[in-house]
């Protein structure tokens, strides 16, 4: 099972996890990213580079599947206008072994954050808006995978 999708629609994380569980591998790991309402944030808009996004995610999934023995991978990334509490991103992995499932899940979200062309713009209650800046910690998290 390989499933990846980029779009405005919400997703059902429980359904994705259930489908990964049904692959029979015995180990499923997942990460769900949610919009935080820090500092009076009222909304967030995600832009992306459509022609490149899908290709980058597809390449990341291929790399994860070469590196770990995975039975299934799901990557969903939302774009457009989101509010605090909304799901942004989902990564799920299934394997016969917990280490492979957990590591591949971490690898995918760390690389997704730093190599897929998405940009977040935050809007706050006082009317101000700002583009989120890339963080060195995210690059460091990615680089630990070698």
């Amino acid at each position: 099972m390989i499933e990846f999708r980029v779009g405005a629609d919400d997703f059902d994380a429980a359904d994705l996890i259930a489908r990964l569980e049904a692959l029979g591998g015995g180990a499923v790991a997942s990460f769900t990213g949610i919009v935080r309402g820090d500092d009076g944030l009222v909304s967030m808009r995600l832009d992306h580079y459509p022609a490149m996004t899908s290709a980058q995610i597809s390449t990341l999934i291929d790399k994860a599947m070469e590196r770990w023995p995975l039975l299934g991978v799901a990557v969903i990334h939302r774009v457009g206008l989101l509010s605090p509490g909304d799901r942004i991103v989902f990564v799920g992995t299934a394997s016969r072994h917990r280490a492979a499932a957990l590591e591949a899940c971490g690898y995918l979200i760390d690389w997704l954050k730093t190599s897929a062309p998405f940009w977040k713009k935050e809007v706050f209650a006082d009317g101000t808006a700002r583009w989120v800046q890339a963080r060195a910690e995210d690059d460091a998290a990615r680089d630990r995978w070698g």
Partner: protein
């Protein structure tokens, strides 16, 4: 005439005021950083977007490349800030 499609994203797009444009291809040996210097002269929005090239990232035909990379015969160049998805 060979052309180059340029796409702008996030605050680069906002500063310039458009999401892209088609230009006459400046030549295979032109580096992205050289093209950015040329674009910077096109107006106030461009000057703002390209004031600090070290804050920019680029992709040629959908692959990330460093700014000192030459354009070659690419048909699409994208200029944008470091990505912030996930």
């Amino acid at each position: 005439m060979e052309t180059l499609n340029i796409l702008y994203f996030a605050w680069v797009r906002e500063a310039i005021g458009k999401d892209g444009e088609q230009i006459e291809h400046p030549g295979a040996e032109t580096r992205i950083i050289d093209l950015i210097a040329m674009l910077k002269e096109k107006g106030a929005g461009y000057a703002e977007a390209f004031a600090n090239p070290e804050k920019l990232r680029a992709a040629i035909d959908h692959a990330f490349v460093p700014l000192d990379c030459v354009l070659g015969h690419a048909s699409e160049l994208a200029l944008f800030p470091p990505v912030t998805g996930g």
